[in-house]
Subunit: 262 residues, 2 copies
DNA sequence: GAGTGGTCTAGACCACTGT
DNA sequence: CAGTGGTCTAGACCACTCC
């Protein structure tokens, strides 16, 4: 076993044993830890890199290395879809009070800050296939960033796609200044005569790309959950595709599958 | 911007531009790349570490650095639960033919190899809470490893928990040599008079622990999906809890949520 | 055995954080 | 300004893969 692995194992064991608790600073790389382990700085740093990749240690330039605190989870359920559907036909006053994210998280509209950007794009192959239209068809791309009011980085970035021709039926849907829209996308679809039959969600996890790490304020070595939501209308079409990137270490997705009785 | 970041950016751009395709070997670290970028070996390796963390490059000791091939996905749907329930009361001959994993992946029983280990444990706080029993209550812990016949490492490790007193009602359930059980857990529960009402799944993503990376044969820096499945019976009890760890870069979870009509 | 990546050293200098 | 981590060098030797 390599020296840096032995050091990483030992530090991990000391942390698990409680020698340093969550939020505590570890001894300085130089001269403390290099001295304790009788090693050079690069080797010690390689050991620390292992613990950072495992999510055990946070490095902070100029301050020190810290035992990572467990992150506060953001929960996202699949019950939100039925909830949002039930709400889509309520009066605006009701819809304005709270959205699906608040429903999941138990927060209020005031705790969260939204930012929306809209643009028209031509459908790439992958999206065109889902919508069953030719590549190059016009799509409305809407980018949403949601963050806690007290935090700087958003905790999710979502990109939603609608057929441009379809969205155009109601010019208000093309106006980003009307976001956050009371009642969400299902209400928007309702205003143009569309009812959803089911929502399909596909989930994978992977390391963040450079751009995502930047956008979500993630440390190198954590994971993101990539969720693609595909909304099917009652007349059998795909009417919305939404790609959401969530920080893996602070998101919990909850799906409930009801079963029919024997 | 640091030198190693510039090098990483340049290499990433060259890969995206197709200078090397999926599966191709990059030029040797020494002397090729260090020469091209006029840098020392450690700095070049730091640049490569960035690309490995992003999942763009695979390092293979003694062979070279390779552009990563797009991973083959293993799909897991939530329709499997209803499918398994429908199957639970079928004759053994029908149940024996295929299981839920094969249903999801389109593979046959012959493509997959199972390994099962059983033991009796005392419920830790976290599990006791879910089952609504006192901590220390006896649980049957069943560990399953599934792998492709041609691969060495399993693609998932699952740990399933049942109340020991409940499982004991049918001694066959305590016998690991009877696995894989035709019809899966829902058929096992059927034999002791239990019907499921719904299945709840909670999902997070995180870096693998040392033990998981080892067990699943993962490279450092990839992500795992941790899925906890909680099965609720028609009489309102939690009857099974199952923890599954899946390699994030080759698993796609698909959840379909049907919506009731307006 | 040739080629390739993996580990490690000793030390210099830069950049960030907090007092 | 002191303390801390971040970057970088030049080179030695080890371990793995494949011919």
């Amino acid at each position: 076993m390599a020296k840096y692995e032995k050091i990483a194992d030992d530090l991990r064991a000391r942390i698990r044993a409680g020698e340093w608790g969550p939020g505590d600073r570890l001894p300085a790389e130089t001269p403390d830890l290099t001295g304790q382990y009788q090693t050079s700085l690069p080797t010690l740093r390689q050991a620390l890199a292992v613990l950072v990749a495992e999510g055990v240690v946070d490095k902070m330039h100029g301050r020190g290395n810290f035992v990572r605190k467990p992150r506060k989870l953001v929960v996202r359920t699949n019950e939100r879809h039925q909830w949002e559907k039930d709400r889509a036909r309520q009066p605006e006053e009701t819809r304005r009070q709270t959205g699906a994210t608040e429903h999941d998280t138990g927060l209020t509209v005031l705790d969260l800050v939204f930012k929306a950007e809209f643009r028209r794009i031509e459908a790439p192959e992958s999206l065109a296939g889902l919508f069953a239209v030719p590549a190059g068809t016009g799509l409305l791309e809407r980018t949403y960033r949601t963050r806690y009011r007290e935090e700087r980085e958003p905790f999710n970035v979502a990109r939603s796609y609608l057929l441009y021709d379809m969205a155009e039926a109601s010019p208000e849907l093309l106006d980003p200044s009307r976001e956050p829209w009371p009642g969400g996308t299902q209400n928007q679809l309702f205003t143009i005569g569309i009812e959803l039959d089911r929502v399909e969600e596909r989930i994978t996890a992977r390391p963040p790309t450079i751009e995502e790490a930047d956008e979500l304020g993630l440390k190198a070595g954590v994971s993101v959950i990539a969720l693609r939501k595909i909304s099917h209308s009652t007349d059998g079409r795909v009417v919305e595709v939404s790609d959401v990137v969530l920080p893996g270490d602070r998101t919990e997705l909850v799906f409930t599958t009801p079963l029919s009785r024997w």
